[in-house]
Structures are given as C-alpha cells and as structure tokens.
C-alpha cells in the first residue's frame, strides 16, 4: 500500500484533475451505451471495440499527414454508417428478444471486430501524436497534458450538442418517445425501425469520437476494447438509463475513483478495483430493489 497521496498534497489534486478529465471521456462512451440501452434494451458488449475502431480512423488520418484532431469530425461520420450497417445486419434481428440474446450477439460482434481489426491493422500498439504540449500548474507540481484537456472539452461539446439535439429535433423526440414506450410510439406514427437504426448509429458515432480522442491521449490496440465496455457499463449501472447528468457525474466519479485506486492500492489494482466496484454496486442495487419490493407488499 502506498500513501503518497497523503504525503504529497499536490498528488491529490493531480489525481482529481486526471480523474475528472478521464471521466468525462468515459462518460461520453457511457452516454452512447445508455442511449441505446434505454431505447432498444440492448447491452452492447462491442461498445469498446467501436471505440477502438474510431481510434484507428484517427490514427490512419495521422499516418497520412492529417492532424488526428480532425478525427473527431471524420470518425463519427464513418462510425455512424458502421453503426447503421451493424444494426441492419445483426441488431435488428435481436432487438425485441431478451437481453441474453442481445448480449450474446454483441459479444459475437465484439470478437469479430477484434479479429478483423487485428487482421486489417496488425497487432501493433499504435498512437496518434497531437503535439499539443502540456499545461503546468502550481509551480510545475501539477501537470495536465493538453491532449487530455482537449479530449474532455470535445467530449463535453459532443454531449451538450447531443442533449440539445435530443430535445429539439424531430428524430430526437422520436427516439425519446420510443424509449418511453415503443408500442405507443409506433401507434402514433413513429417509424421505430428507423429510430432504432439511428440510435445505434448515434451510439457508434459517439464511440468514434471517443476513439479518436483515445488515440490522441492514450494508445490503441485491436484487443483493448473490453475495458471501455466495462467502464461504460458500470457508469450506466450507477447512473441509470436516460439520466445524462447522472452519467456525467458517475463518469467523473469513476475516473477519480480509478486514479485514487491507482495511487493507494497500486496500478495493478486499477482495473480490478473497477470490477470490484461494479460488483458492489450491483449487489447494493439488488439489495435496494428487494427492500423496495418488500415495502410494496
């Protein structure tokens, strides 16, 4: 165990800031997951793989001399269509089935994507350099890579745009209506099939943005998707569906939690602590739910 956090107060500040910047990015991925989970009742295990695919789009732009930051515009456009294609090929066949079938189907998509990416892009770990430099605070004691600040900023911009879009646009309203009650929406003339396709596309596009940001901030690799799926699953579980401020808060909370787990328990327990937290939260939710039921009796 390491109690550096308490010996050096600046580390605490650093951990909080790192965690928040990271958490905002997680929240963006989780928001996509919450959206399609809420609308289509599908838990997308391939979420992380869509993120990595988005990352490769930015990486290839970087490779061909285009600044990878443009990836946050290009990747979502391409990924939107990838999302639609996945929907048409697989998801529309499982959308009304039970959750287990959709988990299996998306798990299959995840494996397929990993192998295809490995086949097409190779097994090397890659990254895109943004050359954004670093912001130093408090006499150089707190360092924030600008790429992380950029990532958080872009994530917020996309999240805000999406919220406005969901509130104001016709499709946004249709999506919300379908989420509330698909059958009623259908009766009232909403083409739910189209809504589902668009929702899956929007989710893939959000993953594309996040992937582009991850290739700028961290590294990407065909097999690195799963931790992102787990994190977003966990954020959604904590926040609940259709609760955007909740997703943002729980995303940042998870980011900070991870950073502190890293400092206090050690880096080796970082991902493990996320899993542990997930289990604890699931148990707690179940406990709360069972009490509620008793109360209703």
């Amino acid at each position: 165990m390491d109690f550096l956090v308490f010996q050096y107060p600046m580390i605490t500040l650093q951990a909080c800031l790192d965690g928040i910047l990271l958490g905002v990015l997680f929240a963006l991925i989780a928001y996509g997951m919450a959206l399609q989970w809420g609308v289509m009742n599908i838990i997308n295990i391939a979420q992380g793989d869509l993120v990595i695919l988005g990352g490769y789009i930015a990486y290839f732009m970087y490779l061909y001399g285009i600044h990878p930051a443009w990836g946050v515009i290009v990747a979502p456009v391409i990924m939107y269509f990838v999302g639609i294609a996945i929907y048409k090929l697989v998801i529309n066949k499982v959308v009304d089935r039970d959750l287990f079938i959709s988990i299996l189907a998306t798990f299959g998509i995840s494996i397929l994507f990993m192998q295809l990416m490995n086949f097409a892009f190779g097994a090397d770990v890659v990254l895109a350099n943004s050359g954004y430099g670093t912001t130093m605070l408090f006499d150089n004691n707190v360092v924030l890579p600008n790429s992380k600040i950029f990532s958080a900023f872009i994530s917020i911009v996309f999240a805000v745009c999406l919220v406005i879009y969901m509130k104001k646009s016709k499709l946004g309203r249709a999506i919300r209506a379908t989420a509330q009650n698909a059958r009623a929406a259908k009766i009232l003339g909403v083409d739910t099939e189209k809504v589902y396709a668009a929702t899956f596309g929007i989710n893939a596009a959000l993953c594309g943005v996040a992937g582009a940001l991850i290739s700028i901030t961290f590294t990407i690799h065909p097999y690195m998707g799963l931790p992102y799926t787990i994190r977003s699953f966990m954020i959604v579980i904590v926040a609940g569906l259709g609760n955007l401020p909740g997703v943002a808060m729980s995303g940042m909370g998870l980011g900070v939690f991870e950073e502190f787990a890293d400092y206090i328990l050690g880096t080796e327990f970082r991902i493990g602590s996320v899993f542990l937290l997930l289990v604890l939260i699931l148990v707690y939710r179940r406990f709360k739910l069972s009490r509620k039921r008793e109360y209703l009796k």
Binding site: L4, I11, V125, V126, T134, V143, E259, T267, E268
Partner: protein
C-alpha cells in the same frame, strides 16, 4: 465374399504400412529434415510471430542453398511445418501435440513469446522432442529442469540489470534510487526480478515499485510519483504498450529523470512513433546489427540486416535474428551428433559452443544461453529530428557514448 475379405485385408495392410512409414520417416523424408513450429500468425502476437517466421525462413533458405546439413555422409535440407497458434497458449500446446503425434515431427522450433513457449515445453518434454526456441526468455522456463528445451537468447532477468550497474558506475560506485513499473506478465516480472537482484547487489534502493495492468495504456499515476520522488533511474517494462505509453506520458508530463531504461523499444518502433520525444531512452536488446559476431552463413549482423531487408522489406528486429540463429544451432547439432536420434541430437545441443552472427551460443544445464550478454542501446536524434538506436553498453560493442544524465525537458 472371399474376394471382399482379401480386398479388405489388402487395404488394411496398405494403411498400416503407410501409417508406420509416416511415423518412422516423418522427421527425415528423403533428403529433408522436417522441423515443426507453432507460430502466432494471427492474434495479438501476430506481428512478432511474423518476424519469427521470417527469421526461420531466411535461415532455412540460406542453409539449404549453402549445402544443407551433412549427416552420415549424406546431405539433407531443412523444411518446416508451420501451424498458426492464434497467439493462444492452449492452441499452441494442442498444435505441438499434433505436430509430434500426428505429423511425426521429431524436432521443434519455438513459438513467439514466453507464455506460448511455456505452454509447449511440457509437451515436447513429454515426448522427448528437442526444441530450440528463440523467443521465450522468461526465467521460469529454465528452472523447471527441462532436458529438451534450448533457448538461444539471454533470459529475461538479464534484460535490464546492465542498466542498473551502469547507473551505479556513473554515480561513482554509490547506490542509486530506482523507480520501476512492470506489467504483470511472466516476462516483465522476470525483468523485475533481475532489477531486484541488481539492486541488492549494488545496495541500491527501490523507491517506487508499480505493477502495470495488462490493459495498460495510462501510467500517469506512476509518473506523478516519479516527479515527486525524483529517482536516479526509471525502469519500465510492459511490452510495446509499456514503451509507447511511457514515452508519450513522460514527454507530456515533462518528467525529468537522469536515466530511463526500457524493453521492447524496437518492437514498438519508438523512434518512428515518437520521434524526438523518445530521445535518450535506454533500451535492452538481445541483438543489434552493429555487433561484430560472425558466422559462415550470414557473415555478420550488418550483412544479415541488409539481406533480410532485401528479402522482407524491413530492418530485422532482434526477434528475427534470434529465430535465424535457432536454425544455425540445429544444423550444428545435427552435424555433431551425426545422427537423427533424438537423444543424441539432444546431447549435441547441450554441448553446443559456437558463434553465430547473433552472438555466442552455449547452453546452461537449464537450457538458457549463457554466453551472450544483452546489449543496451540509446535512442539518439540529430538536429533534423531523425533518430537512430546506438549501442552504448557493454563497452566492447559500443558505437556511441552513453548520454547521461538525460537533459531536463526545460533545456531541450
């Protein structure tokens, strides 16, 4: 009815004859010595799997074209049966079984990575099949008492202890303060054990000892600690992910440390992916083309590198060079054993004492190569920003002088 019986017994006799002939002649068919190898052609190790295969193929072509292997007055040529192990240890073990019991292979070449070698070694050991491997460096491979496993490379615990010794030497023989971060896999943890030994030997103190997760892509927390505690040496090992992540975040967070030592720099193509940010990093390597070891087949490192590039279109990483060396070892052992008897070949392998373009090869009783030191190179960049790996230790092979301490980021 009678005719049917005759036909049936004739066919079964043929089948039996055919199958026994495969089993007894499979190792050597006509003038071919058939070796078996499970290699990661798909999956997460596929890049290094391909480097390994290219190394094997290059050596097979070279040895065959230069007269082959002479055993019992007859000349034989090498041939290899490859299977794709999908970077999966279970699959690798199955394929080793298949190569030995179905294909009748009696001599094996190793797969890529310590993990897969660990999966295959019990199988080859069970059947008494000699295996020369070139890509499994984990120390635990050599402590199990395997009799048929021979590794041409130096074990993982020797990867970076040169760096610690160099740091102590540059510190006027006084102990240094070490920060280390290692991925939690067999190989990196063995590198860590080597550092622990070196620290104990030199009286140095380990002030940060982080373990990195397999999904490693963020080590900011470790680097923040490094920034606060100011160690003399930072050691990182986490395959290509570790090398790339470390360099990216050290540059972004402007972490000043007098010495930075890593593994897997060339596999990560550090100088290409990070350019000047990777400057001054010290990297452990099994081989470098500028080393002046010699043999009859590839002449020396420079010639090997040039020939390899001509054939495969890229500069050979050490994974290819050591794989080529494995074939040279087999050839030498077959000729000295003058037989295809597995026991005799095994004994000949154990008595190997030779020089190849890759380095000297002499096996300890555990099977590891004890006659080839690791080299350390440092990434050095010129004013135009193009970077090159230059050997700085051991001094005998050094082509440039070690730059120490690493200049501060504010002065670069």
């Amino acid at each position: 009815m009678k005719l049917n019986k005759i036909i049936l017994s004739f066919v079964s006799a043929l089948v039996i004859l055919f199958s026994t002939s495969i089993a007894s002649f499979a190792k050597v068919v006509g003038d071919k010595i058939i070796l078996g190898a499970a290699i990661s052609l798909t999956g997460k190790y596929s890049s290094n799997g391909v480097h390994t295969q290219n190394g094997y193929n290059m050596a097979v072509d070279r040895i065959n074209s230069m007269g082959g292997v002479k055993v019992g007055g007859k000349t034989y040529k090498f041939d290899i049966i490859y299977y794709d192990d999908e970077s999966n240890p279970k699959r690798a073990a199955q394929l080793a079984e298949r190569l030995i019991s179905q294909d009748g292979v009696e001599f094996m070449l190793g797969p890529y990575s310590s993990g897969l070698t660990k999966a295959i070694a019990p199988v080859t050991e069970k059947y008494g099949v000699p295996m020369v491997e070139a890509n499994g460096a984990s120390r635990s491979l050599f402590t199990k008492g395997y009799k048929y496993l021979f590794a041409v490379l130096a074990p993982a615990n020797l990867y970076l202890d040169v760096a610690i010794e160099t740091a102590v030497e540059l510190n006027g023989g006084k102990p240094v303060r070490i920060a280390q971060a290692f991925e939690q896999d067999a190989f990196s943890q063995d590198v860590r054990l080597g550092i622990l030994d070196a620290a104990e030997r030199t009286g140095s103190k380990i002030i940060i000892d982080d373990k990195l997760p397999k999904e490693l892509n963020d080590m900011a927390a470790t680097l923040v600690k490094v920034k606060q505690m100011k160690p003399d040496v930072l050691v990182v090992s986490g395959h290509t992910k570790g090398a790339l992540t470390a360099i990216r975040q050290i540059a972004e967070m402007k972490v000043d440390v007098p010495m930075l030592a890593m593994t897997h720099c060339d596999a990560a193509k550090l100088s290409k992916q990070h350019g000047k940010n990777s400057q001054y990093a010290l990297c452990a390597s099994q081989w470098h083309k500028s080393l002046t070891y010699k043999d009859d087949f590839f002449k020396d490192g420079m010639t090997y590198a040039a020939d390899f590039e001509k054939e495969f279109g890229y500069d050979p990483p050490y994974q290819s060079a050591e794989s080529s060396a494995a074939l040279l070892v087999f050839k030498d052992a077959f000729e000295r054993a003058n037989s295809f008897d597995q026991k005799k070949v095994r004994d000949a392998l154990a008595a190997t004492n030779m020089q190849t373009f890759y380095g000297n090869i002499k096996f300890a009783p555990g099977g590891q190569n004890v006659d080839k030191p690791m080299v350390l190179f440092q990434v050095m960049c010129d004013a135009s920003g193009s970077c090159e790996n230059k050997v700085v230790a051991p001094l005998k092979w050094a082509s440039a002088k070690l730059i120490h301490p690493i200049p501060k980021w504010s002065e670069r």
